[in-house]
Symmetry: C2
Amino acid sequence: MGINTVNSGEQVDRQSRILEAALDLLSRHGISGVSMRAVAREAGVALGLVNYYFDDKMSLIRAALHSVDEHDLGLVAPDPSLTPEEQLRKALHRVAGADLLTTRYLSLRLHLWALAQAHEDFARINAAAFDRYLDGLAALVSTAHPALPLKECRDRAADIVVVQNGMWLTALLGIDKAAIQRSIARTEQIAFAPPRDN
Amino acid sequence: MGINTVNSGEQVDRQSRILEAALDLLSRHGISGVSMRAVAREAGVALGLVNYYFDDKMSLIRAALHSVDEHDLGLVAPDPSLTPEEQLRKALHRVAGADLLTTRYLSLRLHLWALAQAHEDFARINAAAFDRYLDGLAALVSTAHPALPLKECRDRAADIVVVQNGMWLTALLGIDKAAIQRSIARTEQIAFAPPRDN
DNA sequence: ACATTTCTTGAACAAGTGTTCAATGTGAAG
DNA sequence: CTTCACATTGAACACTTGTTCAAGAAATGT
């Protein structure tokens, strides 16, 4: 068979390995734990290769931010196989799913948020991703409540996001699961409340 | 009068100047912006003096964390001059006050939170402060609802904190003030809801 | 006046940082 | 085989980092 291009399936393309290593280090030790050498070590790769695939350290972090943002956006993507109500409810419950409530993901989000606060460059990317998430959520609310005015849908989406952000931030401090469940229920109340008259 | 110990009131004790400088840098540029030299420069002080007042960089950050935590705890301190209802309501409204909703404070909190996620040492301090805040809030709820069982008070406090955390985190992304106001109202609903039967 | 403790300084050190780059390896095309 | 573009390596560079420390200034006590 000769030397395979991919030995034992372990050797996926190094670029994603490097990005993955950066994400891992960021979530575990924060930005000060992400040095080019540490990333290279974690990815099992020589130092120079990190700078080969990513021009800058900045580019590397930017790529990490991008990957997380894209993943987040998937949480509010429409799913035509479900009814509008189910779609919305599922999206609301997903934020407390086992895969999202891991320390790794929450920690990663937190560190990226902190980074955005420190660098104007990241702030823009983060704010744009936030807006897209808000839009996605508002769209889900809108399809579930066709009669509701769009402005009201956006307001509800904003209110839901506040509670969601609070949830995962507080989850990092090890708040009890019961409080999380109550908060999920609260987002549902907001989402499915009868139209208010004003 | 001779040379005053304090010239023009500007020369407060250097130790607090150094701590203040560290807080400022942390809130503006994150942990990677807080180098001993940068702190010294910002405080208008020689490099050596930072290590004179704070053994470590760790100690300096710890002191910063401490000062913010203590400030936070003041937000839920009982105020005997008010009725229990007023105390609780005031505490709930304070989190959207002009002094707390500044980028500086929010950013500071965020970076300290991120730091706690990266270092076990800070994590303990932060978790302890969080628990004390929760206790304080639960106590306020309890005095406002003398009939409510203590467990229920703690649950409500936890629910309120989730929304509060979400509020200030989302405030960093520039969410509109209307959403903040609605969230405040939501914490009031939680706090002053009639006892639920289960 | 002196002695002593407390501040304050900036140079020095070892260790770590991001980035560059010449050298080498690898696999496919001619 | 030769060629050639791509992938990969680690040494080397200039620079920043936290910490230490001998020296001196300032305040305080005697």
